[in-house]
Symmetry: C2
DNA sequence: CTCGGTGACTGAACCGGTTCAGTGCGTGAA
DNA sequence: TTCACGCACTGAACCGGTTCAGTCACCGAG
């Protein structure tokens, strides 16, 4: 170790000095730190990780939504930004991987664990009967789930009460006079999709709506557009559509325009996840706004504490708030 | 090493067997591989990296565009997908980091190099007088540049002839009868912005346009919208706008609609980077289409070969092609 | 039968940190 | 004066691979 030589001490002393541990005098510590600074030296991460009890200093995220939707789906990059902001302070890096399906995702986790590539992972898009939490139990790979609660197999999770937001949307649309509302949802096997569906049906019944259905798509613009086209072509089309993400809502708006259906006078549109997209298009999209960046920070913080050996409680984030904009309004003949 | 014990050989033999190197008999190799498979064993990455000449098995990418535009900018996620697809085959991971500015980006490279976090990096968004290539020369961190050619300080690069695409756009718009075209460009200090500007002015002169200006924005939807609003409010507004990315084009389309300017009968709009967004909105956006995913694959492959010690030549990608859609057409009174 | 050569495998050094059991020294109390 | 104690620091083991110099058995040629 060249720092040790330069300072004329043993490498053990250097280790103590740099990690702020007792065992060296304050003057020696300062001398070592100053030399390290001059040399632009920093401890080798592989060596550190290799030492008994050493950590790799990186966490992983795998995304397995359809690759073509990934590019535009604002959700993930915002989440990643939030996660990184939190990790950067702790000197931890983020490994990102895209996978084709949940099987490939599990293979990535297994490889990461076997090769000691990461210290822990954040699991997103929790499914019904999700195989991942159980696999994590076997894998010695600490994990935090974004989603739930429930079905997390004992893993700590960060969740939102999506039902409350759904109820707010239904009340709002009902108050505007809408009686036929269809929800264009995400994949059926996502846990939060099921939560929202349940809340939607209950709120619709309570509001005495004439029609309140949920149809499933896959978050891509293509699917959102196709589904909207089918819905608007019906004999008695819905007068309001609620989408599970903003990309599908955007596609729906495009299809409405293409079919000559006026928004909002003939059709109201509500999006979930209020990214900048919603504000850029005309009419601007009414949306349920969540602090996705903040979610990333919180979930990264939870994982950090989990890695430090602390006990981590499940945590709930504030309910997403309805942002009324130009795409919703009363029906006008 | 538990595999060695299980197979009754030394750990050296295990190393030879697993890396396909000579020094073990074929029968022993198969026995070791089968035991490793049964145990779900894989070599520890930190240990491997620590060995003399060892590689970390990860490459890094830092993105320092404004954080708020990152979420929706489809370009990066597509690029990342492409990079990963190429790397996955080689068992290499990707570290992603967002930075506030180019200084923070350099700090990340320095840390990665000092701590041996990655084997190499991909540099994106090359600037005029970019400090990064020079810094890389000092840093012992192999790098490949996406952009250029020129100003890459000797680093291998993957570049596109943006000028050709610009000329195609100008000819196309001129043929439609447009005489006043304004280009809403990205930041002035990006190398490719300058390349496009130069080609734009030349093509405009050759086409004998009445007005052909370039104004600069920062790729965000907000800036794109604001700039468009200002341009359309002029006494003699342009009849065609060419945007340097699709997000600003989308914002421009929104502003036009808000101001009652009809697209394409009163205003034509062309976007750069043809993501799904361009096909989702109405009218759909005419765009210059590039295979960003493919760019990612190629640049990752170049970095891979560079890390293997091979000499890597600069490489040019196919020119982006104009995809005419509903947002462009002749002026109709 | 002997000798040289080759293939299969072992043992140990090495990478660059962390950590723990000592070691030596100075100090204050008995 | 002596002894126990605490502090600053050293030396060596350790993490889990890779790699190189040997060792050994076996085989074919002379």
């Amino acid at each position: 170790m060249d720092i040790a030589k330069a300072a004329g001490v043993s490498k053990g002393a250097v280790s103590y000095a740099l990690n702020g541990r007792p065992g060296v005098s304050e003057t020696t510590r300062e001398r070592i730190l100053s030399i390290a600074g001059d040399l632009g030296w920093a401890p080798s991460n592989p060596a550190r990780a290799l030492a008994p009890g050493g950590r790799v200093g990186a966490i992983g995220m795998v995304v397995d939504r359809p690759a073509r939707s990934l590019g535009i789906e604002p959700f993930f990059m915002q989440l990643v930004s939030g996660v990184e902001t939190e990790l950067a302070a702790a000197g931890i890096d983020l490994m990102l991987q895209v996978a084709e399906d949940i099987g490939a995702e599990l293979a990535v986790y297994r490889r990461w664990a076997a090769e000691r590539r990461v210290d822990g992972v954040v699991i997103v898009d929790l499914r019904v009967d999700d195989p991942r939490p159980e696999a994590m139990g076997v894998l010695p790979l600490p994990a935090v789930v974004l989603g739930g609660p429930g079905d997390t197999g004992g893993l700590p999770c960060l969740y939102t009460d999506d039902g409350a937001s759904v109820r707010e949307v239904v009340h709002y649309l009902a108050a505007l006079g809408h009686r036929r509302i269809v929800r264009v949802a995400g994949p059926e096997d996502f846990v939060h999709t099921g939560d929202r569906t349940l809340a939607f049906q209950q709120a619709a019944r309570r509001a005495g709506l004439e029609e309140a259905r949920t149809v499933h798509a896959d978050y891509t613009g293509e699917a959102g557009g196709r589904t909207t086209r089918r819905l608007l072509a019906a004999a008695e089309p819905p007068t309001a559509l609620v989408y599970d993400n903003d990309l599908m809502a955007l596609a729906g708006l495009g299809v409405a325009s293409e079919m000559g259906v006026k928004v909002p006078s003939q059709l109201s549109i509500v999006a979930w996840d209020d990214s900048a997209l919603c504000r850029l298009v005309r009419p601007s999209l009414t949306a349920i706004s969540r602090d996705v960046f903040g979610h990333g920070r919180i979930v990264a913080g939870m994982l950090n504490r989990l890695l430090a050996g602390e006990h981590v409680e499940d945590r709930e984030t504030p309910v997403g708030e309805l942002q009324p904009r130009g795409s919703t309004g009363p029906l006008t003949p």
